[in-house]
Amino acid sequence: MAKKKHGTEEAEKLEPAENGAEAGRKDTKPSAGQKIKNAFVKSWHKVRDWFVGAGRTVKGWFVKKKPAEEEVGPDGMRTILPNYNLTKKERFFRFCRSQSGWLFVLPAVILLCIFTLYPIGNAFVRAFMENYTPMNKRHPYDGWGFENFVRVLKGDTGMGGANFLQCLLNTFTITIISVPVSILLALLIAVALNSIKRVQKAYQTILFLPYLTNALAMGAVFATFFQIIGTRTEINEGVANLGLINDILGWFKIPPVDWLNPNMHAWGSGTVKFYWASYLAVIIYEVWSGLPFKILILFSALQSVNKQYYDAARIDGASRSKILWKITAPLISPMLSYLFITGIMGGMKQYSAIVGLFGPQMGMDYNMGTMVGYIYQYIDKGQTGYAFAGSLLLFLIIMAITGISNLVSRKRVTYT
C-alpha cells in the first residue's frame, strides 16, 4: 500500500516540472510566480520525502520486514540482492558469518598471543627494568635504564659463569668458519653427486643420513672422538684412550690435543680467550651435522639448472672448474645465499651442539658458552633481567646480520 501511494505521489511530483517545461516552450520564460511556485513545491517534496523516509526507518525498527526481495533479472534468473532490505539483526548475523574466518584462526591466535606476542613485548619492557625482583611486590624494580645491558656487556653481573663477550666470540668464530666451509663442501659433494649416474641413490641416502639425528645424542658420539680418557701419566705411558682424532693425529707424530678441555689450548689471556682446539672440535661436528641439509638443497638446485648452459659453455671450450665457478655457482647463487643466511642465523643461535660435546656446563663454567647458552644460564640462575638483555642483544645482532646479508645478496645474487 505504502509503496503504491508513494508511486502516485512521485507522479504528482513530476507534474509541475513538466508543466513548467511546457510553459517554458510556450512563453520562452516562466513567469516569476510560476518560478516561486515550482521552488516551493520542490522544497516541500524534499521535506515530505525526508519525513516519509524517517518514518519508514522508525517503522523498520519495530515491524519485522518481509524476507529479502527476489528480483527477476533480465535472464529470468531470480537473484537475492545482498544486504537489501535486511533488518539490523540479519545484517549483523550476515557480518558474523562473513567474519567466521576468525573462528578458525582463533586457537592459533590465542596461543600466539599468550606464548609469542606477549613475550616479545615483555622482553622489550623487562630488559630495561633495573634490578627486577618479583618477590618484592611493593617495589619490584628500581627504575628504567640500560643498567642490564651495561652489566651484561661489561661482564660484572656478580654471578660468575658465562661472560657475554666470550660467548659472542665463541659463537661468532664457530659460525664464521663452519658455515662457509660446510657450504663449500656441500657444493663440491652436490656437484660430484650430480655428475655421476651409477649408484647415485645409494650415495644420496648415506650422505643424507645425518640429517635426521638428535643433536645431543650425536654430540655425545662426537665427544667420544675427541675425548681423552685417562690421567696424565697414562697418556705419557701411551696406555690412555686418546680418542679417534688424536689416534689419527698420532700417525703423523702430532702430540695429543685435549679437545674438550678449553683451558688447555687457549690463545690470549684475561677474561676473553680464543679456545682454538675446542672451536675446531665444534666446527667439525657442526660441518658434519649441517652438511646433509645443504647437500640436499644444492643438489636439487643443480638438478633444476638447464643443461643447455653447460653444453654452450663446453662448445666454447670452458674448463670444468670454469664451468663450476662461472656458470653453476651464479645459477644456484640464490640457493647459496639462502643457505648462507640461514646458516649464519642458525649458527648465531647454536646451543645443543656445544651441550652435546661439552655437557650442560658448556666446558669449564660456561667458557665455551654461546649467546643462547648465556641466556639459559641466567634463566637457570633466576636473573631474568640479564637474560632479557642478552636476548635483546642477540636479536639486534641477528637483525644486523640479516640486514647486511640482504644488502650483499641483492648485489651479488643472480636471479634468473
Binding site: 659433494i189 655425545a220 684412550n241 689416534d247 658434519w288 631474568t384
Partner: protein
C-alpha cells in the same frame, strides 16, 4: 709429407663430419641431457680447432679425453666414497661402541669391530630406574604422549588456520598474516624467558601441558600449508560447491588429500621436533617429567656394580652405556628416515625453496 697430408685429409674429413655431429648433439642434449658428453666435447673441440687452422691429432685427443674422463670418474667416486664413509663413521662408531665392553673401549688402540658383544649394556641402560635421570620407560611414555598429542593437535590447528588464511575472507586477515610472519624473524630464545615466567606463575611446571601448549602453533608450518592451499585452483572449489559440498567437506575431502605430502612432512617434522626437544623440558620439568633427549644427556653408571663387578665404581660414567642410550634414541629416527625418507626430504626441500 705423406703423413701430414694424411693428417690434413683426416682433419678435413672430421671437420665435415664433426660440425653436423656437434649440432646434432646439442639438439639431442637439449632433449635428453644424459648423452655421452665427452664425444660431443671432442667433436666440438675439433671443429673449433679446424676452423682456426690448427692441426690436431684427433685420435690422440680422443684418447686423452677418455683417460681424463676415467680419471675424473675415479676421482669423483673416490671423493664421494670418502665423504660417505665420513658421514657414516659416527653411526658405525656409536653402534660398535654400544656393544663393546668398557675395557675394550678404553684400550689405547681403538678396535673397529668388537671382540665380544656385550648386550648387557642395553639391559643396564633400560633398567636404570633412579638417579639423576628417570627410568627409560617412564621417559619413553612421556615422550610418546607429548609427541602424539602435540603432533595431532598441532596439525589440526595448523590445518584450520592455514585454511582460513588461504581461502576465507575476514577483516584484518592481511594484518594477522603479516604479524605472524613478523614473529618468525624473532629468535625463539626471546620468548622462552617470558614463557618460563608465565608457566611458573600458573603452576604449570611438571606437567604435560607445559610441554605441549607453548609450541603447539608453528607459524612456519602454517605459512607452508597456506601456500599449498593457495595453489589449489579456485575452479575446483566452485566445482565442489556445484556438487553440493560444504566448505568443511571441501577442506576434508579435497584440500587435505591434495596437500597430503606437505601434511605428512609437517606431521613427521613436528614429531621429530618433540623427540629432539631438550631445552624447554630441561627448564620447566623435573627428571621424571622430562623427554628422551634430556634422558640421554645424563651420565650412565654401572649401577650396583652389576656389569663389571664394581671395577669402575658406581659413580663413574661409562661411555659404552652412554653409546647404548644414544643408539636407543637414534633408532626411531633411523627407522623414520628409512621409511619416510621421501616425505622428510620433501618437507626439507620445500622449506629450502620457500625460504
Amino acid at each position: 709429407m705423406a703423413k701430414e697430408t694424411e693428417k690434413i685429409e683426416e682433419s678435413a674429413e672430421l671437420q665435415s663430419s664433426a660440425v653436423p655431429s656437434a649440432e646434432e648433439k646439442t639438439v639431442v642434449s637439449a632433449k635428453d641431457s644424459v648423452t655421452d658428453q665427452t664425444v660431443s666435447a671432442v667433436g666440438s673441440d675439433a671443429a673449433i680447432f679446424n676452423r682456426q687452422g690448427f692441426n690436431v691429432n684427433i685420435e690422440q685427443e680422443r684418447k686423452r679425453q677418455t683417460i681424463l674422463h676415467i680419471f675424473k670418474n675415479i676421482f669423483v667416486y673416490l671423493f664421494l666414497t670418502v665423504c660417505a664413509v665420513l658421514a657414516f663413521l659416527p653411526f658405525y662408531w656409536m653402534i660398535i661402541s654400544s656393544v663393546k665392553t668398557e675395557m675394550e673401549y678404553r684400550q689405547s688402540t681403538p678396535t673397529f669391530f668388537p671382540h665380544a658383544f656385550k648386550w648387557a649394556n642395553y639391559a643396564a641402560v633400560l633398567n636404570q630406574s633412579s638417579g639423576s635421570n628417570g627410568s627409560f620407560w617412564q621417559i619413553l611414555v612421556n615422550t610418546l604422549t607429548v609427541g602424539v598429542l602435540s603432533t595431532v593437535i598441532g596439525v589440526i590447528v595448523t590445518i584450520i588456520t592455514a585454511y582460513a588464511l588461504a581461502r576465507m575472507k575476514f577483516k584484518g586477515k592481511g594484518v594477522l598474516f603479516s604479524l605472524m610472519m613478523a614473529t618468525m624473524m624473532i629468535p625463539g630464545e626471546m620468548y622462552t624467558i617470558t614463557n618460563y615466567l608465565t608457566v611458573s606463575d600458573w603452576q604449570w611446571k611438571n606437567s604435560f601441558t607445559v610441554l605441549i601448549l607453548p609450541f603447539l602453533v608453528s607459524v612456519y608450518y602454517i605459512y607452508l600449508l597456506r601456500n599449498n592451499f593457495k595453489q589449489i585452483p579456485n575452479s575446483l572449489y566452485q566445482a565442489a560447491k556445484v556438487d553440493g559440498l560444504s566448505d568443511m567437506g571441501f577442506l576434508i575431502k579435497i584440500m587435505i588429500p591434495l596437500t597430503a605430502p606437505t601434511l605428512i612432512s609437517i606431521t613427521l617434522l613436528k614429531f621429530i621436533g618433540t623427540w629432539n626437544s631438550y631445552i624447554w623440558p630441561r627448564l620447566v620439568n623435573d627428571a621424571n617429567w622430562q623427554m628422551i633427549t634430556n634422558w640421554v644427556t645424563g651420565g650412565f653408571v654401572d649401577r650396583g656394580g652389576v656389569l663389571y663387578d664394581g671395577f669402575y665404581g658406581t659413580s663413574e660414567p661409562l661411555t659404552t652405556l652412554k653409546m647404548a642410550a644414544v643408539c636407543l634414541v637414534s633408532l626411531p629416527l633411523f627407522i623414520l628416515f628409512i621409511f619416510c625418507r621421501k616425505y622428510i626430504m620433501h618437507g626439507v626441500s620445500k622449506s629450502g625453496t620457500k625460504g
